[in-house]
Every structure is written in structure tokens, then in C-alpha cells.
């Protein structure tokens, strides 16, 4: 299970790799513009570029395979090897969150829960997420405003999001799927004690 400071590293890694890739593209553009005043026979250019392309193709293919191999082992779908310690039912509705411990046997429309819930730290929590009307997205933010986990809240379906809260504090729930006019005001809170 990844603690949230590791997840923050995922965002940082995304930033650093994207910046480096962008810088490489800019460097290639500048190189092409500044060297274009020289004239060289097309066959000779082709020979040079194709040689480089062969190597690039080989390296890129390896990177793609390695990238897939590593990242496909870090899926957010089923994180826990063992059974969760707590199950929480989450029902999204226009425009509030209903949250309550346990598995509910009521229909999403009849389910009763609160916008606020308290859960223990250091436990494996499974959120059983659905919606009583339209699509929403159950997104958990830590107190620093970092998005640490999310899943869609869909009518007719139950998405199971598993998360381990290693740190105590207040975690806010925001909706990350456009669900109508007050979408940006659909807020909930999880207290981790």
C-alpha cells in the first residue's frame, strides 16, 4: 500500500519527466532550425537519420515494455491482499455525499448517510461507491490539497476503492466528474483519528 507522500512523488515524477521530454523537443526544434542553413545530400541525411532511428526505435520499444511491466503492477483496483478492516458505503447524489460504515442493502436513493464520517488511521478501508442519480467522482484530498485517490461514482454500478490512511487528519471529498450546476460545491469530509 502506497502512503500519500509516495503518491505525491507520482505527481512530481509526472512533472519532471514531462518537463524533460518538453525540453528535449525544444532542443530538437532549435537544433533543426539552427543547422538547416547547411546543405547536405538527401541520401546522406537519410542514412544518418535512419541509423539513429533504428537505435531510437530499439530503446523506445524497451522503454515502453519496461514502463508497461512496472506500471501495470501498480493498479488502483485491488490494493489489499487481505480482507479490508472497514467497509464504508458511499452514495453520491446531486449535490452531496452520503457516507456510512458497513455494506448497505438499501437502494442508493433510500440509503441514509452523512456528509461527514470518522474512520480509524492505520486500517485498510474499502469504499463501496455508487450514485443515486448521475455520474460523480469520489476524490479524496489530504489537508495539503493533494489528490490521493479517486473512483467514479456511477448509477447502477458499485466501484470499490481501497485506501490505507497512514496519517491522521481531515481529508476532503471533492467531486471530479461534472454532475450539474453546483458540481464545484459538492464537498464531504473524512476525519481520520
Amino acid at each position: 500500500m502506497l502512503p500519500f507522500n509516495t503518491l505525491l512523488t507520482i505527481q512530481r515524477t509526472a512533472a519532471i519527466t514531462s518537463f524533460l521530454a518538453g525540453a528535449l523537443v525544444v532542443a530538437v526544434v532549435i537544433f533543426l532550425i539552427t543547422t538547416s542553413s547547411t546543405s547536405e545530400d538527401k541520401t546522406s541525411v537519410k542514412h544518418k537519420v535512419y541509423k539513429l532511428r533504428g537505435r531510437y526505435f530499439f530503446v523506445l520499444t524497451l522503454c515502453v515494455i519496461a514502463g508497461l511491466f512496472i506500471s501495470l503492477r501498480l493498479l488502483p483496483y485491488t490494493k489489499f491482499q487481505e480482507k479490508p478492516d472497514e467497509i464504508v458505503t458511499i452514495v453520491a447524489m446531486q449535490w452531496a455525499w452520503k457516507m456510512a460504515p458497513g455494506i448497505s442493502d438499501k437502494s442508493p436513493a433510500d440509503f441514509e448517510g452523512s456528509n461527514e464520517i470518522t474512520l480509524p488511521a492505520g486500517r485498510h478501508i474499502q469504499f463501496n461507491v455508487t450514485s443515486s442519480d448521475v455520474n460523480h467522482d469520489f476524490a479524496i484530498y489530504n489537508s495539503k490539497g493533494v489528490l490521493i485517490a479517486q473512483t467514479q461514482a456511477m448509477p447502477q454500478y458499485h466501484n470499490k476503492l481501497e485506501h490505507y490512511f497512514s496519517e491522521k487528519g481531515d481529508y476532503h471529498i471533492l467531486c471530479l466528474e461534472y454532475c450539474g450546476m453546483p458540481h464545484a460545491f459538492m464537498v464531504g469530509i473524512i476525519h481520520i483519528n
Binding site: I10, V45, F57, L75, Y157, C179, G180, A184
Partner: protein, 497 residues
């Protein structure tokens, strides 16, 4: 090469000019909608929440529709004046149907207050709406009209090409894979057109199914369709539309860049393998939009990431290295057209990389529906597709010498590029700081750091948007002055030469 008489060329040129003028009017208006949205998010103006989402819907639908339509119109012109005779009448039918669809959408949003977002995520258009029911109906019908227009256009092009080049498989370049002698060379633009438009056809049909189901729901409110199925349909449609818009423009780059470098760019076995692989990547990459739907079957989630990652191989190793082969030590004169194409390819590369990052399931879990998403698609649409389109418009309006000497246009171009990337940088920063997308403003977020950073970045974005708008207007002056003047046959003669 077909033999066209000057009257036929003149008619096709008139058609593409009608398209171009329409694009030139619609595009900045749609940018202004985006500017208003960022002003509101920056808390500089106070739009009603309903107005914000109306603007968001029109901005998204309008941009996707206008950019694809212009990309298609450019392809139509290049193909109809070089490779196969296309019916001008059909071209106008497509144009007027699109105009009708766009007018319907503008009416439904601006007057009917329809604000379900570009994707009408089922069942949102029917539940808890702030707009009247008729505007939902009008939007669905208008989108259907657009879809019909696009299908008529692409079927006409692919059918005409198929007849001209001796069958559909020849358009995919399969004759290059055997040992038989090639009787007629296949221009890359023809292969890329086919490989873009066929997934386009499949996606538009999926979109049609989605719209018909919505229309049924509209007339019979007690119906309840499967939400996951409809989500798959709409993202398959939307993702593919945007994806092929870019590929249509790349077709022009393959056709036009050699005219400036003097180096031919021909179809060969590697190019055929590469683009045929791309055909499948276009079809399967859309699954990456549904990673956060945990109930989606796992093989689809894998397919989304594998297709998205793999698409980088042909894109960079073949097309981008192809551009390098064209330009390196080419003694090219850097007129505005090749500059636009080079910087457009760069925008595609940067946006494409950011897309691959977001298509990693583990990363998507913390970037999905944050500002990272508009960041990457604005990079390859505004920093890629729009530059290709503007490059094409300069090609259409300027002679080769004129586009080399037009210093005012080049000034506008650099202003546009700097503005675009500064504006997009605020989206990337927002995504990395978990700022949600599709928020009318950030005042409802109880985390102060997120609220203040979201508003600050929105205000910062205004500088970039204003710069890019000024750059665009400077280029407009140059394009519009020359568009009416240029000798009709110059472009074609230059191409044949």
C-alpha cells in the same frame, strides 16, 4: 495525378475558402469563451454558474467540431486538387449540414442554456438540469446532424479514393507488403486519410448509437440505459474525433513539407506498417478515459494503457523522424508555413508525451479530471492542430515567396506560440497541484491552498490567452489580405512542380 481544368480547381478553392473563412470567424469567438471561463475561475468576473457551464459546453463542442471540420476541409482540398475528383456539390452539402448543426448547438446553449458539457454524460442531460428540456432535444438533434454531415463527407472521400487507387486495401498500403511491383505509388496523405477516416467512421457510428439512445430517453423518460455502456460509446466517439483531427492534419504535413524542403516523402514498407499499427491504436486508446470506472472489465483497462503507450512508437520513430529527415541540413528557407508545421509537430510531441503520462493507470489515479487533462489536449490541439491549420491557411493564401518574407505574420506567429505555451503551463501546474477541472470557480473548495492556487493560476493564464489572441489577429490580417488576391492555380502548379 488527375487532370483538372482551371474551373474545377477554382471551384474547389472557393469551397475551401468558404470553410476557411467560417473557421477564422468561429475560432477566436470560441477562444473568447475560454477566456471568460478563466476570468471567472480567477475571480476577476462573476458569471452565473449556469452561464459558466453553458460556455464550457459550447467551447468544448465548438472547438472539437470546428477543428475537425477544418482539418477535414483541408484534406478534401488537397486530395481533390491532386489525386481524385471530389464532388463540389457534396462538399457544400457537408458544409451546410455542419453549419446547421453548429447553429443548432449555438442556439441550444446560448439561448436554451444547455450545459451538460461536450460529452452529455448519460444520464446528466435528463436529471437535475438547469436548462429547459427542449434544449436537450435540440442539442441531441444538432449533434446528430453534425455526425451525418461528417459521415457523408468521409464516405465520399474514402469511396472516391478507393475507386481511384484500385481498392480499399491499396489505400491502406498493403500492396507495399508483398513482393509485387508497385504499379502506382500511394501518396502518404492518401494512406493517412484512410487510416484516420475509417476509425472516424466507426466512432461516428458509435456516436450515432449514443445519440439515438439519448433521443429515445428524451421521448420516453422512464427508460434507463446502461450507464457504463453509454460512457464507453461517448468516449470512443469523442476521443477518436480529436485523435483523427490531429492525424488528418499530419496528412497535410506529409504532403506539403516536401514542397518546402525539396525532399520527397514517399510511402514505403515501414510507413505502411507504422500507420496500419496506428489504425488499431486509434481504436483502442480511448479506454484510458475509463480507468477510474473500476467496474470496467480489466482487459479493457490494460488495452487502454498498452494502446496509448504503443502509439508513441510509430508517432515518434516514423513521423517525427520523418520530419527530421525532411529538415536536417535541408537549406530550407524558414517561411511561416514550414515553421508552423515544425512547431505544430513539437506541440503534438509535448502534448502526446503528457497524454502518455496520464494514460498510465497508476498516474491517472491522481491526475484524472484535474487540470492536467485540459493541459495535454490543449497542447496538441492549440499547439499542434491549430498551427497545422494556420500553416495550411498561409499555404492557401500566400505564394512561397510571400510566406517567406511576411515578417508581420511571423511576429504574430511567435506571439501566438509564446502565448499558447504560457497559457498551457498554467494548466499543467494546476494538474500537478490537483486542481479539479470543470469547476466554475474554486471558492467551494474547503482547502485554502487549492482554492487560492486554482484562482491564481487562472489569473496567470489570462496573460497567455491575451498574447495568443493578439498573435492570432496579427496573422489574420495577413491571411485575409492575401486570401482573395492569390492566383488560383499557383498552389497547384507549385505542388505539381
Amino acid at each position: 495525378m488527375i487532370q483538372l481544368n482551371p474551373a474545377e480547381i477554382k471551384n474547389q478553392r472557393r469551397l475551401v475558402i468558404v470553410w476557411s473563412i467560417t473557421f477564422l470567424i468561429a475560432f477566436p469567438l470560441l477562444i473568447v469563451l475560454g477566456l471568460l471561463m478563466r476570468l471567472n475561475q480567477g475571480e476577476e468576473i462573476k458569471l452565473g454558474i449556469d452561464t459558466f457551464y453553458v460556455l464550457m459546453t459550447l467551447h468544448g463542442l465548438g472547438m472539437a467540431g470546428v477543428l475537425y471540420s477544418m482539418a477535414f476541409a483541408g484534406l478534401w482540398y488537397l486530395i481533390s486538387t491532386r489525386y481524385v475528383r471530389l464532388s463540389v456539390a457534396t462538399g457544400y452539402v457537408v458544409y451546410f449540414l455542419i453549419l446547421a448543426g453548429v447553429t443548432g448547438l449555438a442556439y441550444a446553449t446560448l439561448l436554451g442554456k444547455f450545459g451538460a458539457g461536450w460529452y452529455l454524460l448519460y444520464p446528466l442531460p435528463f436529471k437535475g438540469t438547469f436548462w429547459p428540456t427542449w434544449s436537450t432535444g435540440l442539442s441531441i438533434i444538432s449533434l446528430t446532424v453534425l455526425g451525418v454531415a461528417w459521415i457523408i463527407g468521409l464516405v465520399h472521400v474514402v469511396y472516391a479514393l478507393s475507386k481511384e487507387f484500385g481498392g480499399f486495401t491499396n489505400l491502406l498500403g498493403w500492396q507495399y507488403l508483398g513482393k509485387k511491383e508497385i504499379k502506382r505509388e500511394l501518396p502518404p496523405i492518401v494512406m493517412i486519410t484512410t487510416i484516420s477516416l475509417i476509425p472516424g467512421l466507426i466512432a461516428f457510428l458509435a456516436g450515432a448509437v449514443f445519440l439515438i439512445m439519448n433521443l429515445m430517453q428524451y421521448f420516453e423518460p422512464t427508460l434507463a440505459f446502461d450507464t457504463l455502456l453509454l460512457k464507453n460509446l461517448v468516449f470512443f466517439f469523442g476521443h477518436t474525433l480529436v485523435n483523427i483531427t490531429l492525424y488528418c492534419c499530419l496528412g497535410w504535413v506529409y504532403a506539403l513539407l516536401p514542397e518546402f524542403t525539396g525532399r520527397e516523402w514517399k510511402t514505403n514498407k515501414v510507413l505502411v506498417y507504422s500507420w496500419n499499427a496506428t489504425f488499431f491504436f486509434i481504436l483502442f486508446a480511448y479506454f484510458h478515459h475509463l480507468y477510474m470506472d473500476f467496474v470496467q472489465p480489466l482487459p479493457f483497462q490494460y488495452a487502454g494503457q498498452i494502446a496509448s503507450f504503443s502509439s508513441a512508437i510509430p508517432a515518434t520513430a516514423i513521423t517525427m523522424f520523418g520530419v527530421i529527415t525532411q529538415l536536417y541540413h535541408s537549406k530550407i528557407k524558414w517561411g511561416i508555413v514550414p515553421l508552423m508545421f515544425l512547431l505544430g509537430v513539437a506541440g503534438w510531441a509535448i502534448g502526446g508525451f503528457a497524454a502518455v503520462v496520464d494514460s498510465t493507470i497508476a498516474v491517472n489515479a491522481v491526475l484524472h479530471n484535474t487540470l492536467w487533462v485540459p493541459a495535454h489536449f490543449h497542447t496538441y490541439m492549440l499547439g499542434g492542430v491549430v498551427l497545422f491549420i494556420l500553416g495550411f491557411l498561409f499555404y492557401l493564401s500566400h505564394t512561397k515567396e510571400e510566406q517567406e518574407k511576411d515578417k508581420t505574420a511571423k511576429f504574430g506567429f511567435w506571439l501566438f506560440v509564446i502565448g499558447t505555451h504560457s497559457f498551457i503551463a498554467t494548466f499543467y501546474s494546476g494538474g500537478l497541484r490537483s486542481i479539479p477541472r470543470r469547476y466554475n470557480d474554486y471558492s467551494g473548495i474547503p482547502i485554502e491552498a487549492t482554492h487560492s492556487m486554482g484562482a491564481f493560476l487562472a489569473r496567470l493564464a489570462l496573460i497567455g490567452i491575451i498574447l495568443l489572441l493578439i498573435g492570432l489577429m496579427v496573422m489574420y490580417i495577413s491571411i485575409l489580405i492575401k486570401l482573395g488576391k492569390k492566383n488560383n492555380t499557383t498552389v497547384i502548379q507549385a505542388a505539381e512542380a
